[in-house]
Amino acid sequence: MKTRGYFNGFGGAYIPEILVETFKELENAFLDVKDDPLFWNEYKTVLSTYSCRPTPVTFAENLTRYFNGARIYIKREDLNHTGAHKANNVIGQGLLVKRMGKKRVIAETGAGQHGVATATMAAKFGFKCTIYMGEVDMERQRPNVFWMEKLGAEVIPVTEGTRILKDAINEAFRDWVANMDTTHYVLGTACGPHPFPEMVTYFQSIIGKEARKQIIKITNKLPSRVYACVGGGSNAMGIFSGFFDDPVELIGVEAGGRGLESGRHAARLSSTDASIGIAQGYKTYFLQDSDGQMKKTHSVAAGLDYVGVSPILADLKEKGRVRFESATDKEVIDAMSLTIKKEGLIPALESAHAFVQAFKDAPKLDKDDVILINQSGRGDKDIFTIADAFSDPGWKEFIIKKAKEYNA
């Protein structure tokens, strides 16, 4: 590889020897297109004809009034085809796969959004597709499993380890080391070995590029703050990257799960529970024990339920360029509920984390301040989780009835 992809010591490519050539090829393909305006144009064209980029920025008038502070704007990645920002990354990698001449793609998925997006891209581009998904996540994101299968992808349940996102990543790597000649691993977030963090960020940077222009056009100024949830970090990197050179505070919100003190969370940069380590091919802050064994994480949002975090964000945290906060499961359900009722927007559980912190900050800000939240995805996929969170009796009754039909 031409570079090792380090960001002040975070990152790198800790990969088995068998994959070294594959990564070299991938890095080359990426470097080829990275500064090629023609490629970027092709990328934008696909996203604007197949998905609906540019996605709008919506003024949340009712929430603004409700919190009576900063003016709240929302970048609408939920309007992407397949319902999340994940579409950007997969279309980008899909175009690279075509260039590399490979015929099969694999991916891990947590929330299922990246899996659905990859399966969709594979259908469109004519690739074979295998998706690895932790058993726990398959349970909580079942509708997405169904759609991946209907899209022609093989969904392989991962029954090892904690049976969530990180384990799915391991399994995808295990597939890749056997099949790298025909197969590209479409990693879904700004993590993993170089060049993934940089490459995924590059594709997701379209969010920030658009958002910066849009918010200035609408409000005539830069936002005071930009909020994004942080799982692996791709949507956050995507929107933040539009504002790195601006005097804009950037806030990444991690999964606080049952609360930081409970230990049942996935807060890597906003808690003191994580430490620097090397796993899944890269160096970053991990939630690990003193032996270096990865800990169990927890979040109501499958897509944030991850032990590691983008090495670029780890660097930005240490530099103080991005502030990191966490939101608990309960806060998330409340923020989601409020957003649905007040604005008619249904953020994904992942995205709702960003809303939590924005809602905490908004009342303390000036009415002149503009804040921007990245709504990374839509919450349709979360219906089972949300119905459970609300313990919705109508829903339960419906499911019980449906089950009876199936049992009959």
């Binding site: 090792r4 099949n179 380590g277």
Partner: protein
């Protein structure tokens, strides 16, 4: 020195046998008994895997052994003590095998000092390509330990040479694509791969990934210096029990001493 140990041994045996265990699986007591049986059966060297929660390069059998060992409460410190004990007890070279995070979190210098002290000869770290290995190589060097580097079938010539320049003791040639465990079809193509490896190093070549039966070892004889058996033995223990190890290993190495071959 590991390399000379191997080369000397190769004067007596056409091919050496390296076996593998996951420390603490099925238990520490059993791990000890397994090693004992292996040594009795004439194994030439052994890798002791310190279990890791994310063993990315391992297939289902070793993966599950890692996870079970951890689930039973295995800690790194205990693995180290265990390794020290066996290396003092048994008269063959032992190597550590683990993923880089284990060494990194322990502290590279502490880790290598301990190894030296314990008499562990070297380490295999499958997720550490030499480009990321600077600190590790320095620490190993400082303690006069053998960093076992890996070749793979798709490693180009130049890179084989580069890797070899960092390696000591022997080279671990990954036999094929994929993770540990699934079987490998040893073929002409494979032979060409080993020949490519030979050209770039004078170090002994060990072949791992998918070596599981006498037939495989017979194929490797005369081509490689060391056959590495991992998954096959864990399966054997799981299916038949520790008392069958000796018999199995002896069956593999039948006809492997020089005088017996004709």
């Amino acid at each position: 020195m590991l390399e000379s140990y191997i080369k000397n041994r190769l004067k007596e045996k056409e091919i050496l046998l390296m076996t593998h265990i996951v420390i603490g699986y099925p238990s520490f007591e059993d791990s000890f008994r397994i090693i004992e049986e292996m040594v009795k059966a004439g194994v030439d060297l052994m890798e002791l895997q310190i279990p890791f929660s994310e063993p990315m390069a391992d297939g289902p059998v070793i993966l599950s052994a890692n996870q079970k060992s951890l689930a039973y409460g295995t800690k790194v410190a205990k693995c180290m003590e265990f390794a020290k004990k066996v290396s003092k007890t048994f008269n063959i070279p032992f190597l550590f095998m683990s993923y880089y995070n284990i060494l990194y979190k322990y502290g590279l210098k502490d880790f290598t000092s301990f190894m030296k002290d314990a008499g562990i000869h070297g380490a295999i770290v499958p997720d550490l390509p030499h480009e990321e290995a600077c600190d590790y190589l320095k620490a190993m060097e400082a303690c006069n330990l053998n960093p076992i580097m890996l070749f793979s079938p798709n490693t180009p010539k130049d890179r084989l040479k580069a890797i070899a320049s960092y390696a000591k003791g022997f080279i671990y040639c990954v036999a094929r694509k994929g993770v540990t465990g699934s079987s490998t079809s040893f073929s002409d193509e494979f032979e060409a791969y080993v020949n490519r490896c030979r050209k770039e190093t004078d170090l002994p070549l060990a072949i791992g990934f998918g070596v599981k039966e006498k037939r495989d070892i017979d194929f490797l004889r005369g081509k490689a210096d060391i056959a590495i058996i991992g998954t096959a033995i864990i399966k054997l223990i799981e299916q038949k029990g520790i008392e069958h190890i000796k018999e199995f290993i002896e069956s593999l190495t039948v006809a492997s001493t020089k005088q017996n071959s004709s």
